[in-house]
């Protein structure tokens, strides 16, 4: 009896480790850090008050949009992926389920305005964050990043990298549908 136990012990240990590794591998983010859940999810969206892109006399703050489902999109004209996701933002603006607010990240107003003229403007407002200070409060480390903020002003979802229709339908839209 004891012999059998001794024989099975290493095998049991091996199987246990294999199961642990299998679970860890499955849960591991496939795009390394980018898919780690943001610590900000479930927390109130950090407030910022910044001048509007192209209009330094107008202030944009995120709390202005309380009461609506809001998409805070961190973008820049130097950001290639932002160009990729831009048509989707235009579509979402047309569909009207969310108010899209831009955080123009480490960019220049003239370039940003030119971009919006050429490609269309999906944003209800665009805050200029040339030094990336508001972005730090949102844990932003690259553009584009997109935050879904609920009508109570709580961050519900975050996407690092270009938002796609697939991700929108799968991860963002259900939250809006379920709560309103």
């Amino acid at each position: 009896m004891i012999r059998i136990n001794r024989f099975w012990l290493p095998l049991a240990g091996f199987l246990l480790l294999a199961v642990v590794f299998a679970i860890a591998l499955k849960r591991a983010p496939n795009n390394s850090l980018a898919n780690l859940p943001s610590v900000l999810i479930g927390k109130p969206a950090p407030e910022f008050t910044l001048p509007a892109v192209g209009d330094r006399d107008t202030q944009v703050s995120i709390s202005q949009f309380r009461g609506n489902w809001t998409l805070l999109n961190v973008w820049a004209t130097w950001c290639v992926e932002c160009r990729v996701e831009h048509p989707l933002l235009l579509d979402l603006q047309r569909e009207g389920k969310v108010t899209i607010v831009g955080l123009n990240y480490k960019d220049q107003d003239e370039l940003a305005l030119e971009w919006l003229r050429q490609l269309g403007n999906p944003y209800a407002a665009n805050a200029a964050d040339p030094e990336g200070r508001a972005a730090i409060d949102y844990g932003v480390y690259a553009a584009p990043e997109t935050f879904l903020i609920d009508p109570q002003g709580v961050i519900r979802r975050k996407r690092i990298g270009a938002l796609t229709r697939e991700v929108w339908e799968k991860e963002f839209a259900p939250l809006i549908g379920g709560a309103s």
Binding site: S32, L33, L36, S38, V39, L40, K106, E131, G132, R133, A135, I136, D137, Y138, G139, Y141, A142
Partner: protein, 131 residues
């Protein structure tokens, strides 16, 4: 080299400068992942260095600065993970494994020693037992 990456002038106070240098060496550049924010000219690292610099200058403690970063970016920004309830087993597992190994090893050795004591088979001059 360090100057090429971090063009900011050093603190006049060497104590503050040392704290700044130590802190930027323990924060991960999330954009570049394998590097600390001290090692890279990436935009993200520049911004975080500026933030650390300003907070050091404003008299915030090292822990306050670490907490500030963790609140925004998560534990992942710390290159040296903290001990917490969630990762306690990772920190403690090596010690537990070592203890189990020592106990098992000790038991095997003491069992064999007992067997040897009970064994009265005579040995020859070279200490070898006849087969």
């Amino acid at each position: 080299m360090a100057h090429a990456i971090d063009p900011a002038p050093p603190f006049e106070d060497p104590v503050l400068q040392q704290r700044y240098v130590d802190l930027i060496h323990e924060l991960r550049c999330l954009k570049c992942q394998g590097e600390t924010i001290a090692d890279t000219p990436a935009l993200f690292a520049q911004d975080i260095r500026r933030q650390v610099r300003e907070m050091v200058a404003a008299g915030r403690t090292d822990d306050e600065i670490r907490d500030f970063m963790v609140e925004r970016y998560g534990e992942v920004i710390l290159l040296r993970p903290r001990f917490s309830a969630r990762n306690a087993w990772l920190w403690l597992a090596p010690g537990v494994f070592l203890a189990v190994g020592v106990i098992v090893g000790w038991r095997i050795v003491s069992q064999r020693r007992q067997l040897l004591d009970q064994d009265d088979t005579p040995v020859d001059d070279d200490g070898v037992r006849p087969a």
